[in-house]
Symmetry: C2
Subunit: 319 residues, 2 copies
């Protein structure tokens, strides 16, 4: 199942939701045509290791290793080290499985040897059998900080340790002004080969914004004059996964797919050419169209492999 | 079972053999009187972690967690992460068990937060329930390099990866000229409380030499005018554990307890006051005495807990 159109497709992805669409895309496109830019704002240092949750979620999902029931991490995971860490009274709020730890340890060794996160990610993809090109958005750390009523929290403190309970008032991407876009992503934009961009149904604030804002990537994309298809991460007023809906409510935005479209239209004017919403949100289409985007209504809930492929195919046809 | 004599006892220890005597000492002395300086020349960076084999062997042994059958690591160990690392084609010649990894990860986190190796070691001892004072010889890295017919190898490359096969011609302790002795060890020497020093039956070249040479520690000890009891790590021409005998042969030294005594007498003249050899080496006593050391013959093979205690008690009585 491949599309007829030629050229490379660039997907911008956060974690679970984005990875599902990327899996669909990888089923629909030859590997050499699929490029995925992963958010690294969620990355953090823990127990001396560099943890890259979104990169790993994408790689685990594309290689069929993810635990789809639990929703994160690896299938068939064991927890021997975590238990031993608990016995040592170490921080264990970030639950590291044994198999997942092997990834982080291998990465730590490669980074300590001086490898860039891009090079290490490419090699990890190869070792996991992932043939699509998966890039960190940057080789520089750009950690997301969440402004909350409990103070400024590192993203994983907010997301995992505090389980998204604090009320959100804003975000900061530390180091984003000095960070450089991953070089292959800039090169892809300059090449005539780019057939289009897909903004996956990921959290707009903490997954997509960091990628688009980094090095003014959104303006680079805008100047490509390529089609940009964004899939709404909000369906019937709810985020299928993660805190996007809760964040929107706390930020005083309408908790709808239209709220997401407005966010993209306000911060990245003219970038999104097509906005994909779910059938259950079809009545929002005129309001979104008024923002200057073409609106397409599809099934955007991706539980089965077939639904991932169907949405991916739709997105590719819209490019 | 405690000795009547008062004052602090300082043991200098490498890994397994030294840890056995330290366990005996911890059975014979109130915890506040036992101070252990551990070799850190074996320490190395692996998969982004700082591994401290001798410190961990001493702590695991003193807390009753060591695997005495295998001779290293923790009892009841599992190997989930190692298997996953193998599947990732990562370096797995240094076999890290899951429970052991928890130690390394906790330490990595503490070091990343800026803790000194001394502070991290003291806190690890506390968490493991070890009440004796266990110190790294230094907070500065002083990695042992082994000169061999296969080139200069990092110690763990020689010891674990190459299983001590290369022929040894010498050693280098990188950074030893700039490294500072762990401050509490210097303070212990300055205090009137130091009742004596015990050089454990550890490898003289790669476990004891780094400690004694660091910051000219041997001269500091010499100036204390305290008694220094050294236990021979060679019994009947063999090392009970590790490559000491093989190294001695390759360095052209007599592979006997006397060879060890000569090494100490040549490099640290006047330091060792009493040299303890095994009954099986009793005939070497006159030759060792000729080096200017008092010689004592004891059972130095420590298989049972009682034999560890008996040798410890002998050493304490000789102070």
């Amino acid at each position: 199942m491949t599309t007829a159109a030629a050229g490379s497709v660039l997907a911008l992805s956060g974690g679970v939701g984005g990875a599902k669409l990327c899996l669909g895309l990888s089923d629909c496109l030859p590997a050499e045509r699929l490029h995925i830019a992963c958010n690294t704002g969620d990355d953090f240092q823990h127990l001396g290791l560099t943890i890259c949750p979104d990169i790993d979620t994408v790689l685990y999902t594309l290689s069929g290793r993810n635990d789809s029931a639990r929703g994160w991490g690896l299938a068939g995971e064991t927890w021997e080290v975590l238990q031993a860490l608990q016995a040592l009274e170490a921080d264990t709020w970030f639950r590291l499985g044994d198999r997942d730890l092997a990834t982080h340890l291998w990465r730590a060794g490669e980074l300590a040897r001086g490898g860039s996160l891009s090079a290490v990610t490419a090699e990890l993809a190869r070792r996991l059998g992932v043939r699509a090109q998966v890039y960190p958005m940057s080789d520089d750390p750009v950690p997301t900080l969440v402004h909350t009523d409990a103070g400024e929290l590192a993203f994983q403190e907010y997301f995992v340790r505090e389980q998204c309970r604090p009320r959100v008032s804003g975000f900061r991407f530390r180091g984003i002004d000095a960070a450089r876009l991953q070089p292959s992503l800039a090169a892809l934009c300059r090449s005539a080969d780019l057939a289009g961009v897909i903004i996956c149904p990921s959290n707009p604030f903490v997954s997509i914004d960091p990628i688009l804002r980094l090095d003014n990537f959104w303006q680079t994309l805008r100047q490509c004059n390529t089609r940009v298809v964004a899939v709404a991460p909000i369906v019937a007023g709810q985020a299928l996964k993660g805190p996007a809906a809760k964040m929107m409510a706390e930020l005083g935005m309408p908790v709808t797919a239209c709220g997401v479209a407005e966010h993209y239209a306000r911060h990245y004017p003219g970038l999104v050419t097509t906005f994909v919403i779910d059938h259950s949100d079809a009545t929002l289409a005129p309001e979104i169209a008024a923002l200057g985007m073409e609106v397409q209504v599809r099934s955007t809930v991706m539980q089965e492999r077939a639904s991932k492929q169907a949405l991916a195919k739709s997105c590719l046809e819209l490019l």
